[in-house]
Amino acid sequence: MIKHVTFDSSSPGGEPSRAPAKRRTRRTIRAALGALAMTGAILLAACSSAGASGGDADGPVGLQFVFIKNVQFAGSYFADQNGYWKDEGLDVELMAGGPNLTVEPVVTSGKALVGITHTAQAVKAINNGADLAIIGAGFQRNPFVLISQAAKPIKTPEDLARKKIGVQALDLPVFEAFLTASGVDKSTFTIVPLQSDPTPLVTGELDGIMGFYSNEPNFLRIKGVEPYNLLFDDFGYPLMEEVYIVKKSNLEDPEKRAQIVALMKGESKGWADAVADVDKAADLAVNTYGKDLKLDMDQQIMAMTSEVDLVLTDDTKQFGLFWMSDDLIAGTVDSLKLGGVDATPDMFTREILEEMYAE
């Protein structure tokens, strides 16, 4: 049992002697190898429990949303429900997002084939080396609003002076772009961080918050707080939003490209249904796809009604949903540039839209 006597230098009174030192080294090496094996085993076990939802040829492909499954993504629910993707031979997994999720890494890593994200975020990712392309725009109008209480409204960008405004960290690039576009000096008022929670506006702690046309204003209305909406779109800041992004190299891969076209076709049919039946759209969100989120039916109907304003324009009626006209691209690029977001027209491509509407 007891093989050899050694002294550990860390033990009290133990002075390492020469002879056993070699053995000790050997033992340390053996122990280190054992330790490595142990760590390896744990890592392996941890990894094997991590089911990879990669993009195999016949496995499901992912569609990554930018937020939780509320009515904001109603078109996708229709596409799934009515089997538009199944008709294309595609199995699509709808991936929920959240306040802390960034869509771009999910798409570049191949975990999702297509992602729905904010335009400024996508452009910044491309500028920082992400291999992405913007292939369509869910919202044709800029959905961002500066919300204040109707009793104490912020009606123009100039009204911002000496106010305290809450902006989510992920929306900051858009807000800064808007400030530059409207010539407002950032130092004349205060910006504080906001979570996806309009409470500080209601409590009066903040004078305004940046929000989404179809979300926060409706939440406030339902709670009996009348909001005043300053639409960015009305103040020289056009922007397409809810853009669809894909990995750019996938556009060159015939198989992946076919999948992208099929996915966008189903998505387009789904959105056509959604804008035509607002109640059904809300119902799908509340009772099927977001059934564990405790969504409010009235509020979801209001949100969807607002969304229709953003999705349908003369362009989409003429060319098809998600269309990115040259004017829209140019306006978006200009708006973003004003905010220091270096957008260029070649980040946007109509090739998928053209292919899917060609038939």
Binding site: V5, T39, A50, F67, K111, G129, V192, F219, D292, Q299
Partner: protein
């Protein structure tokens, strides 16, 4: 009452009565404490906070919770994530602790790496986690990361402090380190490991909920996101309270289980857990430097290895060289250094405020508890639940009450350090050697004076020990406050760099925080060793 109990003898009935009243006494105080808090809540909800959408009334919360079916599917999802995170995180922590004891040279590297996982807010590495893992496993990983370091620290303290005589016996008999670890250290460490595991339970639940802010179809965190966004304050509170209750329950159950398993340590000569006094001399210093460089090199190597092996897109995963280039090369390097430097300074300031606030509060509460068993009985259980409250749910309330400056930093970052400091200091104040207290009594020194002269002197090493977890904790707390409320410091740099895909900035900021925390941790370990030596000599 049944006939069998009626027929019990008088003495047995008396004994039962006595036990019952003891039981009542044990439960009455915490219940009374809870009642006081609930009453205060209801009063606030109906007066100052009425109609402001931040503090709902208790009936509102109960009605919402019942109508929502107690969020059964959300609870199941969150617990499943938290449970797996608890398992893997603790398993990894225990394995790493064992490795540290079997191969002492690795300890420095491993604890430094572990420390980096602790002071990095999991939100900051979310982009990596969602690329490396499935959405579900990313949440499990976040829960696991939030238990890893505290359990490792608890296990190390326990394992290193085995009974001296037994360890020496094994040693002299030629038993290997592994033998000593398995037969002596593990048994002696059970109470420490049990304490660490019970603390890990609420941490795993909160970790999983923060993970759910990445999105998901189910889970308490997801319901909380929706409730907050749609201004459903009653629901947000219902979810937060349910999460707190579940965490507290897990803490109690695991604590009770662990206590049953606990091996009674009969030996009185526990080895001092603090680092032993270092021999001075050129050779020692040289060896120390070599170790430091070796662990630095090992960390860099591991970093490179992980980036290469994981196959993560290089616009997200940055190497040490990228970070170095970001700080030193190119025309913007100076500006980059300024951003990081200013952010770091602000964050350290915020962390100091939080640490000071948390420590002072913990000392005051500890002294209060020590002097009144009634107050302790009433509020200790409530205080223990602070750790289990998802702070994200409480942010709007705290920002409203305390503003977005100094006070909120003190409250939020202080809350992170308050509980561990309180627990450790309370234990130390209680453990003041009897002779010292008796000496004070013999000399008729008053309770208050003896508290300040003797007990607090014995609490100082405890404060130093708790600082090792509380100071990294306050840095983490400060970063979180900056992300959630104040919008400055390294925290905001982290949040905005993720939004704008500036990953070189993100990695550099995280490295900066980790390096600074590691340096502080090293200094603290030295100070603790020096203090322990002074007191025990």
């Amino acid at each position: 009452m049944t006939t069998s109990t009626m027929s019990l003898g008088a003495s047995a009935r008396e004994r039962r009565g006595l036990r019952l009243s003891n039981g009542i006494r044990r439960w009455a105080a915490p219940v009374a404490g809870l009642a006081v808090l609930l009453l205060a809540w209801e009063v606030v909800a109906r007066t100052v906070a009425a109609g402001k959408f931040i503090v709902p009334t208790i009936p509102d919360v109960i009605a919402t919770m019942t109508a929502d079916g107690f969020y059964a599917s959300g609870v199941a999802t969150t617990l499943w994530e938290a449970g797996r995170g608890f398992f893997w995180g603790n398993l990894a922590a225990l394995a790493v602790a064992a490795i540290c004891l079997l191969v002492p040279p690795l300890k420095a590297v491993l604890t430094r790496l572990a420390l980096a996982t602790y002071c990095t807010p999991t939100i900051a590495i979310a982009p990596l986690l969602i690329v490396l893992f499935s959405p579900d496993d990313a949440k499990v990983t976040m829960a696991g990361l939030s238990v890893f370091f505290p359990t490792l620290l608890g296990a190390l303290v326990g394992l290193e402090g085995g009974p001296k005589s037994a360890l020496e016996f094994v040693h002299v008999s030629g038993g290997s380190r592994a033998f000593a670890l398995l037969r002596v250290r593990v048994r002696a460490a059970v109470p420490e490991i049990a304490a660490a595991l019970s603390l890990a339970a609420p941490a795993a639940v909160v970790g999983a909920m923060i993970g759910e802010y990445l999105g998901g179809d189910q889970g308490l965190g997801v319901v909380l996101v929706q409730a907050q966004q749609s201004l459903n304050v009653a629901r947000a509170w219902a979810v937060a309270i349910e999460a707190t209750a579940i965490s507290t329950f897990a803490y109690l159950v695991i604590g009770a289980l662990a206590r049953r398993l606990a091996y009674t340590v009969t030996s009185t000569d526990l080895a001092v857990s603090a680092p032993a006094a270092r021999a001075k001399g050129v050779r020692q210093v040289g060896l120390g430097a070599v170790r430091l460089i070796a662990s630095f090199a090992a960390i860099l190597l591991l970093w490179y290895g992980l980036v290469a092996l994981s196959g993560v897109d290089d616009y997200i995963a940055k190497t040490p060289l990228d970070v170095w280039t970001y700080l030193t090369a190119g025309p913007d390097a100076g500006a980059h250094r300024d951003v990081i430097g200013a952010g770091l300074l602000k964050t350290l300031g915020d962390a100091s405020v939080g640490y000071a606030a948390g420590t002072i509060a913990a000392l005051v509460v500890a002294v209060l508890f020590l002097n009144s068993s009634l107050i302790e009985g009433m509020f200790l259980p409530v205080v223990m639940t602070i750790r289990a409250v998802p702070l994200v749910a409480m942010t709007p309330l705290i920002a409203l009450v305390f503003g977005r400056g100094f006070m909120t930093v003190a409250v939020l970052a202080g809350a992170v350090t308050f509980v561990p400091t309180l627990v450790i200091v309370l234990a130390a104040l209680r453990a003041t050697p009897k002779p010292a207290i008796e000496l004070m009594q013999v000399y008729a020194v008053g309770r208050i004076r003896s508290l300040f002269t003797v007990r607090l002197a014995y609490a100082i090493p405890a404060l130093a020990a708790s600082a090792r977890i509380a100071i990294p904790g306050s840095i983490l707390g400060a970063v979180l406050v900056e992300i959630l409320v104040t919008g400055d410091g390294i925290g905001y740099t982290v949040a905005t760099s993720i939004g704008s895909s500036e990953y070189a900035l993100l990695w550099t900021a995280l490295v900066a925080v980790s390096v600074v925390t590691a340096l502080i941790y090293m200094v603290l370990s030295r100070i603790e060793a020096a203090l322990v030596n002074r007191i025990t000599q």
